[in-house]
């Protein structure tokens, strides 16, 4: 078969809804895009443990602490599922971790923002995990079998992440005026960065056409962002929390909540490495890796015992 015939066969398989499995022929660009996406996704889970992990020892009750530990553990596990999925494409975990630690690899820009108060832990679960679930539910239908299966597993586990966050926010809004103000302050700071999580506008997103054509993604950044706004505005209204966007209004003709323009200058600045916490996050990852060296040495010595 020529490469053109192979490509036609491959695209026909995707058209029929078949899953591509490791070992199947795939265009080099499909493999490259998947490695890029899956490894970024894995890094996001791993770096995503940091903003919340810092609050484990400061959780306001034992129950909240147990829940937060469980959530952060899930994120570590989800990173591992995803590194595995990427490894099936021929890249090694070591190469991916090296790319993260050297600053070469990207991860979700949202984790470069700080979690300043306990209310942030609630709003991260409500907004950030709510946004992540929309993206992951879409990716669970991805054409690449190992990625889709990792996403099915992750989506099933993550709905608790979103709900525990909403529960924290509900406790704060029904608490003292100070607690309510904490919740409002966290909403104000996380709203726009969360909308940026979905990535650039479709018209500005160079990877989207190939990703949609090959069934890696089945919905665009703007579609997912709109669905997030539509599901979150009524929740905020019920909680009587305001969202920091004067242009937010309901459009009767489309049934969508219209929202103001995102500050793309900020988005690209944070993606480019100049967000509030980029350096701190990478430093924490590198330190964790170096501090864990003795554990790896001990495990290797145990494995090598006579």
């Amino acid at each position: 078969m020529t490469d053109d015939e192979r490509l036609a066969h491959f695209e026909a398989r995707i058209g029929r809804g078949e899953k591509i499995e490791p070992g199947d022929w795939m265009p080099p660009e499909y493999r490259r895009q998947l490695i890029r996406m899956i490894s970024q996704h894995a890094h996001s889970e791993i770096v995503g443990m940091l903003p919340e992990g810092g609050w484990i020892t400061m959780a306001p009750s034992l129950r909240r602490k147990l829940v937060l530990v469980a959530k952060v553990q899930d994120e570590g596990g989800h990173g591992q599922y995803l590194y595995h999925a990427a490894e099936t494409l021929g890249i090694s975990r070591e190469e991916m971790i090296e790319a993260l630690h050297s600053g070469k690899a990207k991860y979700s820009s949202i984790f470069n923002y700080p979690a300043r108060s306990w209310a942030d832990i609630g709003v991260i679960g409500w907004f950030v995990d709510g946004a992540a679930i929309l993206n992951q539910t879409m990716l669970a239908r991805s054409s690449y079998g190992p990625y889709a299966r990792a996403m099915v597993r992750i989506s099933a586990e993550e709905s608790f992440h979103n709900k525990q966050g909403i529960e924290i926010v509900l406790a704060l809004i029904e608490g003292t005026p100070t607690q309510r103000a904490m919740a409002q302050d966290a909403v104000n700071r996380w709203w726009w960065p969360t909308l940026m999580m979905f990535g650039p506008h479709d018209s500005e997103s160079p990877n989207t056409p190939a990703l949609v054509r090959w069934g890696i993604k089945t919905r665009s950044n703007d579609e997912l962002r709109q669905e997030f706004v539509n599901q979150t505005v009524p929740q905020a209204e019920a909680m009587r929390l305001s969202l920091p966007d004067p242009d937010l209004r309901f459009d009767e003709s489309t049934g969508n909540w219209r929202f103001g323009e995102i500050d793309w200058g900020e988005f690209w600045r944070v993606v480019g490495g100049d967000g509030p916490c980029n350096r701190e996050r990478l430093q924490a990852r590198r330190a964790a890796h170096e501090d864990g060296l003795w554990v790896r040495e001990a495990m290797a010595a145990y494995a090598a015992r006579a």
């Binding site: 809804g17 078949e18 899953k19 499995e21 490791p22 070992g23 199947d24 022929w25 129950r63 147990l66 829940v67 469980a70 553990q73 899930d74 596990g77 591992q80 599922y81 595995h84 999925a85 490894e87 090694s92 975990r93 070591e94 971790i97 079998g145 190992p146 889709a148 299966r149 990792a150 597993r153 586990e157 709905s159 608790f160 979103n162 709900k163 525990q164 909403i166 529960e167 509900l170 809004i173 029904e174 608490g175 003292t176 005026p177 309510r180 929740q235 019920a238 909680m239 009587r240 890796h289 060296l293 790896r296 495990m299 290797a300 145990y302 494995a303 090598a304």
Partner: protein
């Protein structure tokens, strides 16, 4: 040995007794015992597990439907009698994963894969054979210590949180924002 790249082990999870072990993913570990512990930590944070198997990725021989179609029929290339036992895993549904479907005896991995393909009830979408002797398994008497801790963490399940009920209540009885200013400390 490099810093992080220990050998990879494929992980198979049995959700309930009597169900087949299904491929869940892989872990890195310096030896099979550690691989089982890592597999438990990575793949079993929730109660749906009765047994775990791990096998070194390097011992797996397999192929997708596309690759199996190019497999030459009955390549009995290896010498000796077919006395090595292989576990067979097959992916039969597009949305499914590799699941344990049985065993074959063969003289080597290529024979085992050909025998597994010949024995399949319908053409598999992917097929793996793994030498049974290289599979490390949790023992029934270890199951309690390996898997019971996850049964005592109901807060890992979304049903633990009654968010929709709370939001419905707030829509029915909106928070009186003004009076919030005058509310005292904790009730």
């Amino acid at each position: 040995m490099s810093d992080t790249q220990w050998p990879r082990y494929e992980v198979f999870v049995q959700e309930r007794p009597g169900r087949p072990h299904q491929h869940a993913g892989s872990v890195h570990a310096p030896d099979p015992e550690m691989a089982l512990l890592n597999a438990r930590d990575v793949f079993v944070r929730r109660p749906e597990c009765a047994s775990l198997w791990v096998a070194p990725s390097a011992t797996v021989r397999g192929g997708t439907a596309e690759e199996l179609s190019q497999l030459v029929a009955a390549p009995v290339s290896e010498e000796g009698s077919p006395d090595i036992e292989y576990l067979v895993f097959a992916k039969l549904e597009e949305r499914g994963t590799l699941a344990h479907v049985g065993e074959v005896h063969a003289t080597g991995p290529d024979d085992a894969l050909a025998a597994a393909k010949a024995a399949a009830s319908r053409p598999p979408l992917a097929l793996w054979v793994v030498p049974a002797a290289r599979v490390e398994r949790t023992l029934p008497e270890e199951a309690a210590s390996m898997f019971d801790p996850s049964r005592h963490k109901p807060f890992r399940d979304q049903a633990f949180y009654h968010i929709q009920t709370a939001l419905r209540r707030l829509r029915r009885d909106p928070l009186p924002i003004a009076s919030l200013q005058n509310r005292g400390k904790k009730r």
